[in-house]
Symmetry: C3
Subunit: 329 residues, 3 copies
């Protein structure tokens, strides 16, 4: 069974194929390549881009989507194996996932990190349960560990701009926020950029390290593709000469190490035009959205021509279309 749940589940060849298809089809009229196909979409967390772009992929392709908000449209869902289910979650994934599998051709799921323990989030239990219980292909619309469609859209945007990502200096910089956010987006940008051979610089304040297994996986990809990865606490050094400045807020490596209010600190990490001046003259600015303006990124960065955040969001459509083409055929 094919699953589009992580870069590792896809493998570098499929990543290459998906990006090539996305780039080519973007220049052509919509094709009805998903005629008669049904996608079940289950959200444990809210969404705008993800929901709209996946529905658009299915509908433009001649198929359709069934959208369910877990815990709103449905009852709350239990995932603990062996649980005595006497609490507020009256349905188990052991039933919900195989039942939905009977009605649709593929299942898409969004589930965020709990944010209590990076090791637990990194294990991605709910997504693993979907892969295990589903009898149709599963596609991740973001999970605790990764957001593969976002990473692919990021790299499509970069490759459209610069032709190829190989050896391109790209800076992933931590940004301030009002609360600790999941690491799925920075993880996926790091993994996908490494998988495409970028020279990746990651900048964050002390205590905000990404998970060692993610870093190790990215380094394997870099070794295979000729890319490189460097971590630093010096934001200016990371951005210096970069062709891509990718900003994203994320939480500390462990809650024990840093109190939550820490994320409000480091206000000087907010991306401003001054930061952009340090990058290459043709640098573009990326962010996965939603972005808290003037907290993570200044208006004067987002509202300038170097910003490609809307194209980047549009590219969610194009990579997801290519992913579903691969997944359902």
């Amino acid at each position: 069974m094919k699953h589009a749940t992580s870069i590792a589940a896809l493998g570098l060849d499929i990543v290459d194929r998906v990006l090539a298809t996305a780039r080519q089809w973007k220049r052509e009229p919509h094709r009805r390549h998903l005629e008669g196909k049904l996608l079940g979409m289950l959200f444990f967390n809210p969404s705008l881009r993800t929901r709209a772009s996946f529905e658009a992929v299915m509908l433009r392709g001649g198929g359709a989507a069934i959208v369910l908000d877990a815990g709103n449209d449905t009852r709350k869902l239990e995932d603990r194996v062996g649980a005595v289910m006497d609490g507020d979650r009256p349905e188990h994934l052991k039933e919900a996932v195989p039942v939905l599998s009977r009605f649709v051709d593929a299942l898409a799921v969004r589930t965020f990190a709990a944010g209590v323990d990076d090791d637990i989030d990194n294990a991605d239990g709910i997504l693993r349960a979907f892969e295990h219980y589903a009898t149709v292909p599963v596609i991740s619309m973001e999970s605790a560990r990764e957001h593969p469609c976002q990473g692919l859209a990021d790299l499509l945007t970069i490759e459209e701009q610069f032709g190829a990502a190989k050896s391109l200096p790209v800076a992933l910089t931590w940004a301030p926020h009002i609360k600790p956010l999941p690491k799925a987006v920075p993880n996926s940008f790091l993994l996908t950029a490494a998988a495409r051979g970028c020279e990746v610089r990651v900048a964050h304040p002390p205590g905000f390290d990404l998970h060692p297994t993610v870093v190790a996986e990215a380094e394997r990809y870099a070794a295979e593709t000729g890319g490189s990865i460097r971590f630093t606490h010096d934001q200016a050094a990371a951005i210096s000469g970069a062709r891509v400045v990718y900003a994203k807020a994320w939480g500390p490596a462990t809650r024990a190490a840093l109190p939550p209010e820490t994320v409000r600190q480091h206000g000087d990490w907010m991306i401003s035009p001054e930061h952009m001046q340090g990058a290459a003259t043709d640098a573009i600015f990326l962010h996965c959205l939603p972005v808290r303006r003037n907290v993570e990124v200044a208006d004067a960065v987002l509202d300038k021509p170097w910003s490609r955040v809307i194209d980047e969001a549009e590219n969610r459509f194009h990579v997801q279309r290519a992913l579903l083409e691969w997944l359902l055929h």
Copy 2:
């Protein structure tokens, strides 16, 4: 106007036709028999199987569904005739139902029992209002009194397994729960099993009787089909030799008779492998889902080959497809 709101509204001939169509079409490729048809779905209560399966029926058939959560997507809906509407329900079914009827080809509605008075629930006021005010066919996605699509799916599952349900010994057994649940599912299993001529045994603790009008209706069907119905407080006796063990939690006959916490009692009624040992050697286990594992039914029952709960859920799709074929043509 045809309505698919209860076994009585359908009649035994249509029940027969729907089950025959469902069984036959299940073996064939999807057909686009609902091309251009629109189903309006109005939920007063959450749903996973029902929502996904009805949408899948419409979309697979070439039609589409418009899904509305009453009180969330819409404002809250009033049903009391003559009400001075100065409370929290700003729209009356007298308007909502005929208006929706103008936009769609059929209306599907889910509304649960209030659970305060069995006589009131049994009268099924909201579903009656839909039948009365609608100008298109109405289909029940579960109401206070019945869940006809569930009963039909249950019997399709049984007839697929055993060829025919006539004279088949089937046990409907009450199960513990953390709160009093509606009786629509046990009512519908009883009515549909009787309508197909089963030898039905119903087991529940004292005080959890089903409503006399439901029992009387089921007995009329049994008399017509050569089936039989027996009620007992002895769970083991009901299960003994049964080919089907159907577990379901439901609330007491009257709230006055039994305090709510009673439903947490009778923990020994939770279906375990030991219970299944008393059934026939080829017995199958059914439950409408969602099921509270290790409260209603033990993991060791649900995770064994005798469990057909996923097939049973899939059969919701097949009987609903056949019902809509009948309803819309």
Copy 3:
């Protein structure tokens, strides 16, 4: 870029064309004029008629809709320019609107008046932001100032009944309610009736004046079409001899001028059969729905043949179909 966001945005010629198309197409079978088209629908407020009728338009026409509840399905949306986004609204319309524009062929938005200041509501900031940031046509599903689809449906209903609206005496009468409601519906009825040349009489208690800019705009239309507008505090005088009685609750002109509880007063303004006796013998009764029965309007008005409220709601479908035909071609 075409926008269907107000009568002014349409202009009187398009109003004429839309009503003509709606009236003609209503008598013909559904046509698949929106094949392959996608409408994005974003709701800041709940809806039944609007949601169901717009989805039906798209689906009947061969297209489809993507429906998003802002703040539920999506995160809450910020609209203040230059805001430091450290509150409960993590996404700005500056991103949300252009991103959605990339996925769909047109954007429909519903956003209610805040009801704190009529000048602010009248400026219609959120709708203006949609027009500004969108890169596809925008259609209003009701905004703070207007509900153009409702006004068009109202006039279609009137013209179907009486052939033409020109010089027809129509009474728009304020009705009591349990809370102050937005003025979009009375505004749109006034504007559209004036745009079609009606002799409009508006009756409300002192302090419930409509906004001067709305009145001025309506008077310009009346001058152009040969219609007329008269305001009065005498409900009986307004209704006397009218061919159409249109009832609607709305809030005071300013919150400072009148305490909220005032809207519960004037109970004698509730439309009763006695009120209808004063109208022309062939008068029809209209209300946009939802209606609080026996608060705004008596059962004995709504349940009589003079009531056209269900036809009026159905006409939402017909005018929206014609609007989208114009907007997307």
